[in-house]
Assembly symmetry: C2
Homo-oligomer: 180 residues x 2
Amino acid sequence: MPRNKRHLETKIKKEEIEFVAMALLKQKGYDNTSMAEIARAAGIAANTIYWYFENKDDVLISVLNRVVAQAMKELSEQREQPLRTKLLSLIAQVESSGSLMTDVHSRVSHSPKIQAWHDRFHTMVEQLSVSELVNAGVNPLEALLDAKLLIYVIEGLLAHPHQPEEREQIIDQALKHVFA
Amino acid sequence: MPRNKRHLETKIKKEEIEFVAMALLKQKGYDNTSMAEIARAAGIAANTIYWYFENKDDVLISVLNRVVAQAMKELSEQREQPLRTKLLSLIAQVESSGSLMTDVHSRVSHSPKIQAWHDRFHTMVEQLSVSELVNAGVNPLEALLDAKLLIYVIEGLLAHPHQPEEREQIIDQALKHVFA
DNA sequence: ATATTTCTTGAATGGCATTCAAGATAATAT
DNA sequence: ATATTATCTTGAATGCCATTCAAGAAATAT
């Protein structure tokens, strides 16, 4: 038990790496960010990362968890807002993380861990959406299907560039259908 | 002009490479298929590919064009079918090309040529969808928005594993909304 | 002070897309 | 028929990458 200080410093160092990795991955995406680059930005040797993380996908997962935690926090601050506002703010949130979500999709087939993370994330968003929809008066029987539709629309919006107005138009159209 | 024979053989060889590349890319995806592997399957040296194609993304584009051409052909054979049938058959089509569409999305940020291909493909599908929708009685003013919604739903279905029944449920739900 | 665990690193390793320079083959010109 | 040129092919680099390895430094425990 007197390894406390050591443990603490280890955790801090790991967080430091996650921090610089997050900045780089958000900015340049997974494929355009090398481990060497992350290491350089963190002021350590390239292979030192492997003491703290199993591999590059592991770094990505840690970063993703941070991004999601942040998004959740922002979302919880909008509890009173209508669904439309929540969705737009969620999109803005995720968008600020660059291509990270696209990166997740493209790495699902390479890494079982990313696959698992992706699945967990999807069911989480799905549950959130269903409860939102039911809350907003959608027939519970259809809420699950509508949730999936909404998620795919959101993913589509995130994966493709859009003007803010166009994005809002599309979201509004989707919501109109769902609430019709 | 008497270089005819040479030109013909060149075209044939290029097509041979595209053919084996298509099989490999469909089966194993972009990242898990190396140029060396394609070359081996085509019975040539690894670097010979670079006489016929600029780079790996160029190979991907040629393969994509073949896949799309095939899908278009199948689609045109369903001219009389309802939209639902067309969509399901389109999904089945694209699905048989493995992760190729996901690969496109993940390479958009790496290659301007892939980016351009992706944009062209999207507007094409969009135009097709709009005319389908208008034909099927959707208000023309909303057809464009609905087309985008449908495309994103289809992309979502393709990017995520689904049981056939679930897929149909989701498509039906989307169509119900669009035609409501 | 010594042994043990924890952390760090320089130097591999193996895989990859791509390039280079030189050779082979075929088409054309003389 | 021979020489010249354009077309195709290849073995051998090059440079980048994630990841591993073995050995050393630092902190902790005995």
